[in-house]
């Protein structure tokens, strides 16, 4: 039996033979029907789930790290423009200026990452031929298309004082101020959408760790965006104008940490994807950096260097959170366990509920694969 092709040994008569425990590397977790875990276990592995040669069912995302980087830069742009708008409203000129500059830089980087990641970058404008509410990427395109120019105008308006006071450029100089104000408000108004739609972008896939995260991911990304915006401010802005950034750093970091904790522990099987090798390291780094950054933001009120270090930690934490979530999704789509086990459990439950527990001779539920329609019991439409 042990030499048989994995995942194929299940037979009608053969009992629960099938399924080497693919991907179930950590003992004790997710091990239903466990049995002893000694050396003996290797001889007759417990049937946890069945698969086709242990192959992935889903295709992992073909996105490169550009997309993970974009999750970060998009959030940074959003967080910075919110702080810039606050500076604009409360007369903190340095905060406003730095926030606008960071925002434009980050949104330009975002555009680069998004286009570079396309399989056909020269066709990026095909995104602009439709507005499609069912596609978070389409909605995101339009959010960026609104945010980008607004952020750009706001940042450019900071150059107005460099223009001569007379002539055509003088007119531009006078117009840029108000245009910058409008742009600043426009960017700030779009910023929350820019920061949180990326969570929907990832969640609206079959990728288990992303999809199962959907109730929490927007809060993780929103918090991460605020923390990174605050982090950039702590680096770029003189101490006397960083008060709001420090408070925002604490709020954002708290949301980011709490949300990440939920992702790592409360999603059932999908949470295990966050403890696969690569995502685990990234999430751990994110936790330490973000916590240190938030603490540093509170403690470094009098130190420009300390503030900059705290800011760098917040930025690093945000970056690691994005890459961690991204990698967890990839890990969860490479292992069929994350797809098969929850679905099989759902089917078995449904079959039991319907009393339609037709079974194969070996006792596996059969009806779950084909619930007769006259079992008027519809599938539960789960609202999360």
């Amino acid at each position: 039996m042990t030499t048989q092709v994995p995942g194929t040994e299940g037979t009608p008569e053969g009992g629960r033979l099938a399924g080497r425990r693919f991907g179930a590397r950590r003992g004790g977790r997710g091990g239903r029907g466990g049995g002893g875990r000694g050396g003996e276990e290797l001889q007759v592995p417990p049937a946890e789930f069945r698969s086709y040669y242990g192959r992935a069912i889903l295709k992992p995302p073909v996105w490169k790290h550009d997309i993970a980087a974009y999750l970060f830069t998009g959030g940074l742009a959003a967080g910075s423009s919110l702080l810039a708008a606050g500076g604009q409203a409360t007369g903190r000129a340095d905060l406003r200026r730095a926030g606008r500059a960071t925002s434009l830089g980050a949104v330009l980087a975002s555009a680069y990452f998004l286009i570079a990641d396309l399989g056909r970058p020269e066709r990026f404008h095909h995104m602009l031929r439709v507005v499609k509410p069912t596609s978070p990427m389409s909605i995101g395109t339009w959010i960026l298309t609104t945010f980008g120019p607004a952020s750009g105008v706001a940042a450019l308006s900071e150059l107005a004082p460099l223009l001569p006071e007379r002539g055509v450029l003088g007119v531009a100089r006078r117009l840029l101020g108000p245009a910058g104000t409008v742009g600043g408000w426009g960017a700030a108004a779009t910023a929350p959408a820019l920061a949180t739609y990326t969570a929907v972008l990832l969640a609206d896939t079959a990728t288990p760790a992303w999809h199962e995260s959907h109730p929490y991911l927007p809060f993780v990304f929103g918090g991460s965006a605020l923390a990174s915006g605050a982090g950039a401010t702590l680096i770029s802005t003189p101490l006397d104008q960083t008060g709001p950034a420090r408070r925002l750093a604490v709020i954002g970091a708290t949301a980011e940490l709490a949300g990440s904790h939920v992702l790592e522990h409360r999603l059932g099987l999908a949470s295990e994807a966050f403890s696969e090798e690569v995502p685990r390291r990234l999430m751990r780094a994110a936790r330490y950096l973000t916590a240190a950054g938030a603490l540093g933001a509170v403690l470094s009120r009098r130190s420009r260097v300390g503030s900059a270090l705290a800011g760098a930690a917040l930025l690093g934490g945000s970056l690691c959170t994005r890459f961690g979530v991204y990698e967890a999704g990839k890990a969860s789509s490479r292992d069929p366990r994350y797809t098969v086990v929850p679905q099989r459990e759902r089917l078995d439950r449904l079959a039991e509920q319907n009393g339609a527990a037709a079974r194969t001779p070996d006792g596996r539920l059969l009806a779950g694969d084909h619930v007769p329609q006259d079992e008027a019991a519809r599938r539960p439409r789960t609202e999360p």
Partner: protein, 319 residues
């Protein structure tokens, strides 16, 4: 009803009479699909070859995968049909030596240099009955879902619903964003390396419009792959599974035929002889878009939270 500009209640999830009509087509064309009856598949891979020939798909790896006769491995950008081979030993308990007196020559010392060949009779006629190999073969293909996640998430409109209710990529529009690939709950659609765009089965859109059958169904020598109006195929499939079960093939079951399932039923339905996951199919896939309204609500809440947090940060001591 009658209003095609407003999505119906079940546009994103649940049973839907006609996905083509839902997408704005008139009702003159019936929904077409595949019925893949794996109980008569002989694993000849004619479907794979015919598909590659007709659709001019590139060679995508000549490798020995060590998975029975399956060296294709999976559906991909250049393999739109994939025949799975599953060898199952229909094994009972191994024979137990009860120490009963035996008839025959006395046991001799086995010479390690001269090991006897396995005795076929000993394995096919154990005391508990015959040991057998069950060989499952199944030709997988795009499911052409009623609620197709790939189509829902496509940001360019490259993926579209045809008048036949199938889902097709327009290659002159696709910009290779890759979003459809993790969205598909079956792992069907994929990016072609070096080309950058997403590719998958079109249900031979360029044939069925002219009244031809898709290449794979045409080539299939055992009618394991049947093509036709989905409604008829569903009837055929129901009859066939009933017949098989009556004949004692209790493990026969249909896959994708239920309009109440997570994708609203598929345009490609299958008769399987074991659980779907054994064939590399998800047991109970759900279109991700089902949860999209909930996702947007949560994002909106988080967004409002960001604004509130910013406001709070700027209130308070001036520093």
């Amino acid at each position: 009803m009658g209003r095609t500009d407003v999505p119906e209640r079940n546009s994103f999830y649940g049973p839907l009479e006609s996905p083509a009509v839902d997408a704005g087509w008139d009702e003159s064309t019936s929904r077409m699909g595949f019925f893949t009856d794996t109980s008569v598949c002989i694993g000849c891979k004619a479907c794979e070859v015919a598909c590659k020939e007709w659709n001019l798909l590139e060679e995508d790896g000549l490798s020995m995968l060590g998975m029975s006769y399956d060296n294709t491995g999976m559906l991909s950008a250049d393999s739109w049909r994939h025949v799975a081979f599953i060898e199952q030993k229909v094994a009972r308990k191994p024979p137990t030596d009860l120490g009963m007196p035996q008839v025959g020559p006395p046991p001799t010392q086995v010479d390690p240099q001269n090991m006897p060949l396995p005795d076929l009779d000993a394995t096919t006629q154990s005391p508990d009955g015959p040991v057998d190999v069950r060989w499952l073969m199944s030709s997988d293909v795009c499911k052409h879902c009623t609620h197709a996640a790939c189509l829902d998430v496509c940001p360019t409109g490259s993926l579209f619903r045809t008048e036949f209710g199938t889902v097709v990529v327009q290659e002159d529009i696709c910009n290779g964003c890759g979003y459809c690939i993790p969205a598909c709950p079956y792992g069907v659609i994929d990016q072609r390396k070096g080309d950058g765009r997403a590719w998958k089965c079109t249900l031979c859109y360029d044939r069925i419009g002219d009244g031809l059958m898709p290449a794979c169904a045409t080539a299939c020598p055992t009618k394991s792959i049947q093509y036709g109006p989905l409604e008829e195929l569903r009837e055929t499939a129901a009859k066939r599974v009933g017949h098989l079960r009556e004949s004692g093939v209790e493990e026969a079951r249909l896959y994708g035929d239920d309009p109440d399932d997570g994708v609203g039923g598929t345009g490609s339905i299958f008769l399987l002889l074991d659980q779907p996951e054994v064939y590399g199919l998800p047991p109970d896939p759900v279109v991700t878009t089902r949860d999209l309204p909930a996702m947007w609500r949560r994002a909106a809440m988080a967004g409002v939270g960001m604004l509130a947090a910013t406001a709070v940060a700027f209130v308070g001591r001036r520093s």
